[in-house]
């Protein structure tokens, strides 16, 4: 390929995004490179075929409106999701069993709190309509309720400085120990709809630990114990971003 004409320019040529000078440069290149000329023709044909295949949708009648309450809308989109979640759940349980077996040999395997957070995040994160039991609009009630059920004061830290707002929260059963207090889960969301889950639970052994990191599938978890409570922040974001958010959570809880 000529020094001046690169892959990006071929696409820009296909998409009509070049000025006249750039266009004639690409045309000169294509005249000398029949393989590239053939690709350009194929890509143009793709764009035309996309319009032939889908432009009819533009004129189809539909009954969608904006701003009307639509909770009664039957939710077909979520049925396949529920099924998929069942499969994903099976995979997660499999992974959990493996992790548990592995943990017997490797004491440094992911802590139960990290697995519980990843499992909860994977289960509730995809929910469009019911990601939480109690919405953030009722935050006072949410926090009072969860504090009562965990039998210790908990709070929902603000992640606004990281670009996430509180969606709300829910109560989860304890991870297994009989008589253990249930667990609180807060969910957050950024402007693009990306979600993070913060799990908070009693840690009978107590103490303080450093941040620890675990990963389950594409879900990353940072977890730590701070006095009587354990925290785990789970999300499909980079470890760096997760660390930054965790640090902000930690600072708010230890002003």
């Amino acid at each position: 390929m000529d020094r001046q004409v690169n892959e990006a320019q071929l696409h820009a040529y296909v998409d009509g995004a070049l000025n006249e000078a750039e266009r004639s440069e690409v045309e000169a290149h294509l005249a000398a490179h029949p393989d590239d000329a053939q690709r350009v023709r194929a890509y143009r044909a793709q764009n035309e075929a996309l319009h032939r295949a889908f432009d009819a949708v533009l004129d189809e009648p539909h009954s969608m409106v904006v701003g009307a309450p639509s909770t009664a809308r039957p939710s077909r989109w979520r049925w396949p999701m529920a099924l998929a979640a069942t499969f994903a759940g099976g995979a997660v349980i499999g992974a959990l069993l493996q992790a548990t077996l592995g943990a017997a040999r490797a004491p440094d395997g992911p802590a139960p709190i990290a697995r519980q957070a990843a499992l909860a995040h994977d289960a509730y994160m995809p929910e469009v309509r019911h990601p939480v039991e109690v919405a953030a609009s009722d935050e006072q009630h949410l926090v009072a309720w969860l504090s009562k059920r965990l039998d210790t004061p908990v709070r929902a830290p603000s992640l606004a400085s990281s670009g996430y707002r509180l969606l709300g929260g829910r109560l989860l059963p304890s991870a297994g120990e009989a008589g253990a207090a249930p667990v609180a889960l807060f969910m957050y969301e950024d402007a693009r709809g990306k979600r993070l889950s913060l799990l908070v639970r009693r840690e009978p052994s107590g103490g303080d630990t450093a941040f620890r990191y675990a990963q389950q599938g594409s879900t990353h978890v940072l977890y730590w114990i701070d006095g009587p409570l354990g925290y785990a922040l789970a999300g499909e974001i980079s470890k760096d971003e997760l660390s930054a958010v965790s640090l902000s959570v930690y600072r708010q809880l230890n002003p």
């Binding site: 696409h11 998409d15 995004a17 194929a42 295949a53 889908f54 539909h62 939710s75 469009v128 990306k194």
Partner: protein, 173 residues
């Protein structure tokens, strides 16, 4: 103090539906995705910054809904769905050959990885600029270019695989 009106958002519905249909390959899933995106965009309308590109912003909201939900649904996207997508009514004025080509395009699209399909559709069908596509997907423009390049090339290969098989004809170069 709504940043945009319901009517402005509703004006985007036909294009959102077209993109969602091509993205999911399924009419009902596409309309549910569109409806969810409309609801979310309306609830979050205060976050849109006046003077910026509303269409790109709404498509970004839809992308957020899609990655939160559709990705999880993929394992159940069975061959039935693909077959159904291929059988969907095509423009009656089109000849049989065009109808076959369109149904092949639909099934080839579904065989692209999500990331590549999104870019191929945002640029090729929705005619977003590369910068706008980057904004919609929340990725650098270089990522858009490499996904576009890989997606178009993969689509071309899928077509060349399909063409001789289904028609017993080999394309003459």
């Amino acid at each position: 103090m709504a940043a945009f009106t319901a009517a402005e958002l509703e004006a985007l519905i036909p294009r959102l539906r077209r993109f969602a249909r091509a993205l999911t390959g399924n009419r009902e899933a596409a309309d549910d995705l569109t409806q969810d995106a409309l609801e979310r965009a309306w609830v979050k309308r205060e976050l849109w910054q006046q003077g910026t590109n509303l269409r790109a912003w709404v498509f970004a909201v839809m992308h957020g809904v899609f990655i939160n939900s559709a990705r999880r649904a993929r394992p159940t996207e069975s061959l039935d769905v693909l077959a159904e997508a291929g059988l969907e009514r095509v423009d009656e004025s089109a000849g049989a050959e065009t109808a076959i080509a369109i149904s092949e395009l639909r099934s080839a699209l579904q065989r692209l990885p999500d990331e590549q399909r999104q870019v191929v559709l945002l640029v090729g069908l929705e005619q977003f600029s590369y910068a706008e596509a980057a904004q919609v997907l929340g990725v650098p423009i270089g990522t858009v270019m490499s996904r576009l390049s890989r997606g178009r090339e993969r689509l071309r290969q899928l077509f060349e695989e399909q063409t001789p098989d289904r028609h017993g004809l080999r394309r003459v170069k």
